[in-house]
Each structure stands twice: as structure tokens, then as C-alpha cells.
Amino acid sequence: MKQNIYTKLHAEGLLSDESFQKLKTRHEAPLFSVHWELNTILYLGVILLTGGLGTLIYKNIDTIGHQAVLAIIALICIGCFYYCFKHKKPFSKEKVASPNTGYDYILLLGSISLVTFIGYLQYQYGVFGNSYGLATFVPMALLFYIAYDFDHLGILSMAIVNLGIWMGVSVTPKTLLMMGTYNTPKLINTYLVLGAILLMAAYLSKQLKIKKHFKFSYQNYGTHIAFVALLSGFFHYFEHSLSLVYVAVVFALAGYMYRESFKERSFYFVMISILYGYIALCGLAVELVADAKLDDEGVLYFLLMAFIGSAIGLIILLININRKLKADDHI
């Protein structure tokens, strides 16, 4: 089947002799790559091993003793980083490819054990005393350093999550999805500041040309955190006039993000800014209708129809934008 396609294209003059030969030899003796499968097994192995060892130590802590445990973790950590420093390529502001596949996993294992080591020290011996800020700042700073020096996107994600922990909030993707947990003004504001920092980092990554490929991670976390925080603020102060400030900021940020992402031709961020803006708009509509106190079935019908109409309108709008961006679209 595949061969037929090539033969046909070749006959039509759409494939040069050289390309045709290359493709022919490729499909005559096809190589079967088990890259994905082996990588999955590797990752699974790391998770099972660390999980198993962790539980094992936890259950036998009385016989093993904390020093021994710390020593083991430190040994793993040192071993990993010794390997990584030995094989490391020099720092560059551009993307640096990892020397081999194992390298990334070893770096990951080293980083996880490093964070665990520091956490353990603080938990058991309280080396940082009561300064919890410092106890979380140190691992965060180390993680950012590792992410930049060794160029590892996964560790950058860990560092961003740790930045949130340092500021006192949890930013794993799961907690971000549960908007309802952001219910105190202090928490909302912390998230807002975190979102602003991350968006700033995304902006600076691009502007200063330092590790431009990190921009996506920063922007991704930053956008969602900032918008979710703003929307929670809006719904938290729903009955207040303060909610109007939040909704105004949502619109401003969405508009700005929309323009910037459009310039960069990133449909993902265009869509996200439109969607968050739309949610705010719907909330505003409900608020206005609730304010008008029209206790009428007609209002319900009107709202439902307005939502349906606007949702369809939104789909058409997004389709059109997608068409415009299609010329060269990445994510």
C-alpha cells in the first residue's frame, strides 16, 4: 500500500529519483523503534522503585535510623549529580540537547532526592528552625538553578511548583482545576502575585533571549494561575462592587494575552484568553441579571438563549481565528 503511493508519486514526477530511492530502502527494511516503550518502562521503574523504597524506609524507620536514611538519600543524590556534572554540556542561553536519554532521568532522580533530602533534614532536625520561608526557598532556588544549568523542562515545572509552595500555595495541575478551594482573599492574592511573577518570567525569557523554550512552561502556568485567581476573586466578591475590578482585570489581561499570542501565532493561548474572558463575561451577565432582581421565568429563558447563542458565536469566532493562524501554526 505504502509502496504503491510512492511509486505513483514518482511516476507523476512529484518525487525525485533520489527521494524515491531513499523512501524505498526505508520501507523495504523497516526499523522497528521501541523507544517509547522502553522509556515508559524506565519511568515506571523509577516511580515504583522510589515509591517502594520510600514505604520500606517509612515502615522500618525504627531499625534503620534517620542518619542512615539521610545517608542513603545523600548518596543517591551525590551519585546522580556526579554523573550529570561529568556529562554536562556547557551552559548556553539557547536550548542544549541532553547527551543521552538516561541523563534526563538521572538528573530527575537526583533532583527529587535533593528535595527529599532537604525536606527530611527540616522535618527531622529542623535545620532551618522556624523559618519556613527559608526551608522552602533553598530547594526552590536549587531547582531553578538545575533547570537552567542542565536545561530540563520537567525540573523547571518542579521549580515552578516549589515557587508556589514557597509562597504558601499549591500549584499542581490538580489543585488548579479545583477552583472552589481558593476561598480566602489572602490565598487569591497570593495566587495572583504568583501568576504575575510567572507571566513576567515568560515575558523576560523571550525578551532577554535566555532559554526561550522555557517560555511556554512559564506562560502556561502563569496564564492559568492568574486567570483562575482573578475569576475566583470575581466570584468571591460576587455581591460586592469590588468584583467589577476583578472582572475588569480579567478583560484587560485577556485582551493583552490575545494580542500577544496572536502575534506569536499560538492558537492555544489565543483560545485560553478568549475562554477565560468569556467565563468572566457570562459571570458578569448573571450578576447583572441577578442585580436587576427580575424573578421571572422569562429571564431564565433569556439567559439560556444568550448562553447558547454566545457559545455558538464563540465556536465560530475560534474557527475563524484558527483559519487565520493556520498559515503556520504551532501549539
Binding site: 515506571l44 518542579m158 499542581t172 465556536i315 501549539i331
Partner: protein, 393 residues
């Protein structure tokens, strides 16, 4: 039968294949552009991000519309019968047909949402009507016959993988309930009947996969083959057979013996290995991946009956074995052997660009620090939050 423009489907196949070759550096950009211009594809094909977004938005719009229409119709008794939902299902199906044809959709998100919603409503109303004595009350067998026919029709019409899976579920459910009708003899021989059915389905599907006439349905057939293999495995899995046996004889779950237990244990343990071996020797990714997943099922089954080791020792051992295995295989395949290689042959796909790995790492690898978060917010939140923010600005 298929709703899409066949010429475009053919062209899409050519373009897709040559695109992969282009990304892997086998053909030049000029050649690829020329081929793309000659083999025009008129479908509306957004990328994965767009498709997911459209899908969700369409679902919201349909759900709201259903609410609105139902609200307006709520005065009559009609709405309290399955016919109302059946009517809505047909209405949405008409929308799917018209929009797919009119807007040249091809699994673009919008048509998927409409199609699944319509199929979901259909299933809901049929299940309701068949099991409610006030309506038809005709039981499982006619119900699955209707669902199977509908699912196969939709699969053939839209070449959609989810509906292909639905067809498989209906098919195997139909066989199960039909055979169960024969009484205790039926239940006693159930594993073998299901094995035969699944094996036959796999055999027929593999034959169909080789036929050039079915080229538009290749993905659907592959998914269905996968489903058939999973059923084939589960039908002989010791745990499943044991539970079914207990159900039949009214025993509780402490009873762990079954007749022909040796056969079922062999089936549980050997089938994944056979799948992996076949996958590697026949260069079949489907069998290989399925085999790897089923190994986990086999281990879980074994552990359910024999607690040789405590769970943590088991995890540690398994992790060590997996790492060692992967390491050995990678070392062994440093230079490709027998046409199998560890090297990456194709460029990163859309999914890789989304940095899924980073997402998973941030979700799984930060479990421990998460515990700190709770402490932070309760008695350290102020220092961390306030101090941090002013510092960084």
C-alpha cells in the same frame, strides 16, 4: 456508506504519510509542498488544541440547548418518556449529518461532540425503553441488538474510533447475555465462549485490516482489535473467572478455587508474554503495547491470590527489575538488532510539544512537598506569602 468525500480521504492518507516522511527528512520541502498542492484535502482539520477546545464548547452549547428545549417542552407528559430523548437524539444526528457535510468537518471536534451526544442520548433512551416495563420492557438481548446495529452504522458512516469501541462493547455484551440465557450451563462455559468470540473477532478484524477496501477504517479496526484482545485476555483471567464462578454458585469471595484452575493460571500469566513476543517478532506495536499493559494486569492478579511479599518490597523489587530490564535492552539495542532499534525514528508529535512529561512530573514527583503546603498555609503562610511577594518585585 461513509459520509466523507472519498477523494479527500485518499489524498489525506497520501499527505499524512508524506508529511511524516518530510518531518523525518526523507523528502525535501519543495517535494512535499508540490504533493500537498496536487493532492488537495478540503476537510477542516484543526490541530489537537483546537479540536479539544471546539469539542468542549460544542458540548456546552448542546447541553444548554437540550436544557432550553426540555424546559419549553416540560408542560406535556411527552418529556417523561424515552421517546422525547430519542427524538432529541435524532434531531442532533440530523445536525451532525448536515454540519459535517456542509462545513466539511472531519473529526474536527464539533462533529465529534454532536455525534457522541446524539449517540449518548440514543443509548440512554433505548436502555430506558428496553428495561422499563411501562415501555417496551423487552430485556437485554434486544437492547444490545439495537445498540450494536446503531453503533456499527455510525462507525461505518463516520469512521470514528469511540463508536468502534461502542460497537465492540455492544457485540461482546450481546454474546454474554445471550449465552447467559442458557442457564447454569451457559455461565459455566462462559469463559470459553467469550474466548472463542473474541478470538474469532480478532481473526476477522485482522483479515479486514489487510483488505484495501477498508483503508478508511484502519484506525477503527485497530482499536476494535485491541478491544477483542483485551476481552480475549479477560475471559481467561483467573480473577475474572473466579468471580464469575462465585457469582454462579452463590459463593462469597473467600472462595478462590475454580475448575481447570491450572489452565486459567497459565492463560493469565502466559498470554501477555505471548503478546509481547508476537509484537516484537511481527513488528506490531499494538500487540507489544497491549502486552506490556497486560503484564501489569497479570501481576495484579497474581498478587491478589499470593501475598508472597509485602507491598513495599514488591514495589521496590518490581522497580529494580524494570530498570534493569530497560537498561539491558537499551544496551543490547545500541546497534539495531534484527531490525529493532532504541533510536527515535520519527520526530516529536504534537503531544510531545505540549510537554506532557513536565505536566506528569509536576503532578507525580511533588507529592511529598505537597504535605508541606498544608503546614505552610496553616502556620507559615503569612511569612512565606507576604515576604516572597515583596522580595520578588
Amino acid at each position: 456508506m461513509i459520509i466523507y468525500n472519498k477523494l479527500w480521504l485518499d489524498n489525506l492518507q497520501v499527505v499524512d504519510q508524506l508529511q511524516a516522511d518530510h518531518e523525518d527528512g526523507y523528502i525535501t520541502k519543495e517535494e512535499f509542498v508540490a504533493i500537498k498542492q496536487k493532492y488537495l484535502v478540503g476537510f477542516y482539520l484543526p490541530k489537537i488544541v483546537g479540536r479539544v477546545g471546539f469539542f468542549i464548547l460544542t458540548l456546552i452549547a448542546i447541553a444548554l440547548s437540550t436544557g432550553l428545549v426540555s424546559l419549553m417542552a416540560a408542560t406535556g407528559e411527552f418529556i417523561e418518556s424515552p421517546y422525547w430523548w430519542l427524538f432529541l437524539s435524532f434531531a442532533y444526528y440530523a445536525c451532525t449529518e448536515l454540519m459535517t457535510k456542509g462545513n466539511k468537518y472531519f473529526h474536527s471536534g464539533i462533529d465529534n461532540a454532536l455525534l457522541y451526544y446524539s449517540a449518548g442520548l440514543f443509548t440512554f433512551s433505548i436502555v430506558w425503553a428496553c428495561n422499563d416495563p411501562a415501555n417496551w420492557g423487552i430485556g437485554y438481548i434486544p437492547q444490545f441488538v439495537i445498540l450494536l446495529i446503531a453503533a456499527i452504522f455510525l462507525t461505518l458512516r463516520f469512521a470514528d474510533v469511540i463508536l468502534a469501541i461502542c460497537s465492540c462493547i455492544s457485540f461482546f455484551s450481546l454474546i454474554y447475555f445471550t449465552w447467559a440465557k442458557t442457564g447454569s450451563f451457559g455461565l459455566a462455559t462462559m469463559p470459553f465462549v467469550m474466548m472463542i468470540a473474541a478470538g474469532a473477532a480478532y481473526f476477522v478484524l485482522t483479515k479486514m485490516r489487510k483488505d484495501d477496501k477498508n483503508t478508511y477504517y484502519h484506525t477503527c479496526i485497530d482499536v476494535a482489535r485491541c478491544a477483542a484482545l483485551v476481552v480475549l485476555y479477560l475471559a481467561g483471567n483467573y480473577f475474572v473467572v473466579n468471580r464469575l464462578n462465585n457469582e454462579l454458585h452463590g459463593l462469597d469471595d473467600s472462595h478462590t478455587q475454580v475448575q481447570l484452575g491450572f489452565f486459567f493460571w497459565a492463560w493469565t500469566m502466559l498470554m501477555p508474554l505471548v503478546l509481547i513476543a508476537l509484537g516484537v517478532t511481527k513488528r506490531n506495536r499494538l500487540l507489544l503495547r497491549l502486552g506490556i499493559i497486560i503484564v501489569a494486569a497479570a501481576v495484579a492478579t497474581f498478587r491478589n491470590y499470593y501475598h508472597l511479599l509485602p507491598i513495599e518490597a514488591m514495589l521496590t523489587l518490581a522497580g529494580a527489575i524494570l530498570l534493569l530490564l530497560a537498561y539491558t535492552v537499551i544496551k543490547y539495542l545500541k546497534t539495531p538488532k534484527h531490525g529493532v532499534t532504541y533510536a527515535e525514528l520519527s520526530k516529536a508529535s504534537d503531544w510531545d510539544k505540549l510537554n506532557i512529561e513536565g505536566f506528569i512530573i509536576s503532578q507525580t514527583a511533588t507529592q511529598t512537598p505537597n504535605i508541606d503546603t498544608g503546614q505552610q498555609t496553616t502556620f507559615g503562610g503569612g511569612t512565606g506569602g507576604g515576604g516572597g511577594s515583596s522580595d520578588s518585585f
